[in-house]
């Protein structure tokens, strides 16, 4: 029973996080946005959009580059 619960919790967390660094980077963008919002709300919004897009491009480009370096089977 405990194993079933642990497995279900693991699967649930997997819905939101499968690449830890990716999730951490998104969280960092959100945290930065939260810091900037009291100063300039619109600037914070732009930071959120640009930050998320930047994390997406950087992560996928890095994954692609790593795949390109792997020797063919």
């Amino acid at each position: 029973m405990k194993t079933v619960i642990v497995n279900v919790l693991r699967e649930l967390s997997g819905l939101f996080i499968d690449d830890g660094l990716f999730a951490l980077a998104i969280s960092a963008v959100v945290a930065l946005t939260a810091l900037i919002t009291p100063v300039t709300p619109l600037g914070a919004g732009l930071t959120l959009v640009a930050g998320c897009l930047g994390v997406l491009v950087a992560n996928t480009a890095t994954a692609g580059a790593a795949a390109g370096k792997r020797p063919p089977p």
């Binding site: 279900v8 699967e11 649930l12 819905l15 939101f16 996080i17 499968d18 690449d19 990716f22 999730a23 998104i26 969280s27 959100v30 946005t33 939260a34 919002t37 009291p38 709300p41 619109l42 914070a44 919004g45 959120l48 959009v49 998320c52 897009l53 994390v55 997406l56 491009v57 992560n59 996928t60 480009a61 994954a63 692609g64 580059a65 795949a67 390109g68 063919p72």
Partner: protein
């Protein structure tokens, strides 16, 4: 009266994401039905559905107690993580970095695993029903999350739920009719589209939760979706391993 510009993004996101999840759940239920018959498959699926209904009934009143800004922020961040995770994987699959999800292969693997369990004399009906229950519960939780995320706080839970139910009914009807995994559904294109939409919703909600007043209000979601789509399409090209890009040249 809600206008379509407000409803359409939420209903579309709920419908398309439910389509993907329903196809994945259907594959597992079909594999159980193939090996052990429709009784354990159906009972497991119904039990999963019942658990989902209980979760929604319990979570609904709880969510109403949470202050709106806090709810927007938490749901926004979860939606951002969920949507961008889907979009990231769809980009990598489109670029050929990871393999496309293959429902026919999943069906074959699940069926083989259940048959292997039978050879070892395990309580197969119980295990098969559990596999069906787990598939329905886990895929269903993703549907429930998307419906709540795109619909709560704006009176769109009912339209989003109807979109999700329509998708599930469509998949169930086709699955029962053809009795085979729906391998020809363009799953990665669907996941790409859903990832774009949910990421856009996630950015919108997170911003609102933090106190950002987006210019254009709800129309900002459409702008974000267009931005995510264009950047994601560019990211597919960037992510292609350089050997494949050289071959293309």
């Amino acid at each position: 009266m809600m206008d379509w510009t407000t409803m359409a993004p939420a209903v579309s996101a709920a419908f398309l994401s439910s389509l993907v999840e329903a196809v994945e759940a259907m594959t597992i239920v079909l594999s159980v039905a193939t090996v052990r018959g429709w009784r354990p498959a159906g009972l497991g699926a119904l039990a999963g559905l019942g658990s989902l209904v209980l979760i929604v009934l319990a979570a609904g009143p709880l969510l109403n107690q949470v202050p709106l800004h806090a709810l927007q922020l938490v749901i926004g961040i979860l939606l951002l993580l969920f949507g961008m995770r889907w979009l990231r994987k769809a980009i990598l699959r489109a670029a050929g970095v990871i393999a496309l999800h293959d429902e026919a292969l999943t069906f074959a693997n699940e069926t083989a695993a259940l048959r292997e369990q039978a050879r070892h004399g395990k309580r197969l009906d119980w295990l098969a029903g559990l596999a069906s229950y787990k598939a329905m519960l886990l895929e269903g939780l993703e549907v429930v999350f998307v419906v709540i995320a795109v619909g709560s706080g704006r009176g769109l839970i009912v339209p989003a739920s109807l979109g999700a139910l329509a998708a599930c009914a469509l998949v169930a009807a086709v699955g029962f009719a053809i009795r085979r995994p729906l391998a020809r559904v363009p799953e990665n294109k669907l996941k790409f589209s859903v990832g774009v939409m949910l990421s856009a919703f996630g950015v919108f909600w997170t911003g609102e939760g933090l106190g950002v007043a987006w210019p254009g209000a709800d129309l900002a979601i459409v702008v974000f979706a267009v931005l995510f789509l264009l950047v994601a399409l560019g990211a597919v090209n960037l992510a292609k391993p350089s050997s494949r890009r050289k071959e293309a040249v």
